[in-house]
Symmetry: C2
Subunit: 273 residues, 2 copies
């Protein structure tokens, strides 16, 4: 099984390569059944509307997860605007290219159980409401932020926007519990609106907030999550120099939200902690 | 003659396609001689430093313009980070891919002579000092801004940043004369530092300023320019709805800066206006 992007070739005039002009999705697939599929498709459709490009036919997309075959897989889709156009202006007739790959996947169960260490990034995300929330291919900010550390003990970096508001982690959304309220950053100016985040918000009383990183000092529990890895409790937060800033003790508080997330993804929901 | 990106193929796992993880340059070449070549290479090198990737060997780059052959051409280079890595984190061993094409080019001489009509864009550029100035492949903001109009009479759109400061046009830099002073937007937070802009600033007394679009109401002359098209006088500015906001009469004021720019590019420097 498996189909790799490495084996697919794209003309070098594709606008995804020239301008990052396109979208992507990364979908967990278990035995050919995609998780949170409707939410992935809905986000892809929102991206197509934003960029002004046609959404691929539903049948074409819906046929992909079954091709993953048995076992736990990740299906990655890239939808490019296709070739052509005069400079930045796309041709109205541009034909999007749909690329996809399936890879075997093993989640990091130890991170579910023991939690993760994260750090603050120095990079501040630029504010661009037009592109906020969608999963577009302009990801240099994430690449630069991820390059800020190379310690494999540090699972993720936390990102604020240029106004100092907490937004997300480099490849995950951010959640916390503070004074008994579940909160997650509002993503109107930047950040990716993850499908796990959306699904959690639909079944759990979350407030979307615009707050600085200082609120994490008051948080009783902090989590990172996405639709592929599930939910990781945060047990340690370092500053942008890698110095320990704060720690949390894993407890039942952490497990309740993790259980809700993992039920959505078919992942284990109890751990010996 | 000619070599097209259309005929070159790139593996779909290239990081330029996945994340816009790379850089580009667009160079005017006359009879195999590149214009402003050292400045193009310097900007590419700055971009490599910012992204943390190796600059291609000088010999490899320096050999390209001669391949354009006789006549006026545009050489487009794309330097991608190459393939691989775990998500956003590139492999230290990633091997950059250098793609290039040569196309015939005819500048729009009528725009040199008669000037151009431009309009304000609604889109506001996000502020990201880490990426400001370099010519990276994350260009969705330019693509979306360029899609704001489809009237071929409108040559370019003016862009402000999210704080309301004038920055550039969708694919050109912006210059104006106000109270006898030559000014151009400071590009510390966003925008592309064009090679023609740099060359003009090196030979002409320009001030880099952080100002809102209202200063154009006081401008005696306004220009747009880049290293391929040369310098276009602006004779009409529309608002973001396409309604006329301001007009300028072409005169000797316009021609002096145009002459300086066109001498740098080997373009005509006198017009019957």
């Amino acid at each position: 099984m498996g189909r790799s992007l490495t084996d697919q070739w794209v003309p070098a005039d594709d606008r995804a390569l020239a301008y990052g002009d396109g979208l992507f999705e990364t979908v967990l697939v278990r035995d050919g059944e995609p998780l949170l599929w409707r939410r992935h498709l809905a986000r892809l459709a929102r991206g197509c509307t934003t960029l002004g490009m046609p959404m691929p036919p539903a049948g074409e997309l819906d046929a992909l997860p079954a091709k993953a075959g048995p076992g736990l897989k990740v299906l990655k889709l890239i939808l490019t605007r296709g070739s052509g156009g005069r400079g930045y202006l796309p041709l109205p007739s541009a034909e999007p290219r749909l690329l996809w790959q399936v890879t075997d996947f093993t989640p990091q169960a130890q991170r579910w159980k023991a939690g993760v260490r994260v750090r603050h990034c120095r990079l501040r995300l630029g504010v661009q409401p037009l592109l906020a929330g969608i999963k577009h291919l302009n990801r240099l900010e994430n690449v630069l932020a991820r390059r800020e550390w190379d310690d494999s003990e540090v699972a993720e970096g936390l990102l604020c926007d240029s106004q100092g508001s907490l937004i997300e982690a480099t490849s995950m959304n951010l959640f916390w519990l503070r004074q008994g309220r579940f909160e997650t950053p509002r993503l109107e100016g930047c950040g990716v609106a993850g499908t796990l985040r959306e699904a959690l918000m639909a079944c759990h009383p979350f407030s979307e907030v615009t707050v600085g990183a200082e609120v994490l000092a008051e948080a009783e529990a902090v989590w990172l999550g996405n639709s592929v890895q599930g939910l990781w409790p945060v047990v340690r937060l370092d500053d942008a120099d890698g110095r320990r800033q704060q720690c949390w003790t894993l407890g039942s508080l952490h497990r309740s939200l993790q259980r809700a997330a993992h039920e959505l993804l078919g992942y284990p929901s109890t751990f010996n902690s």
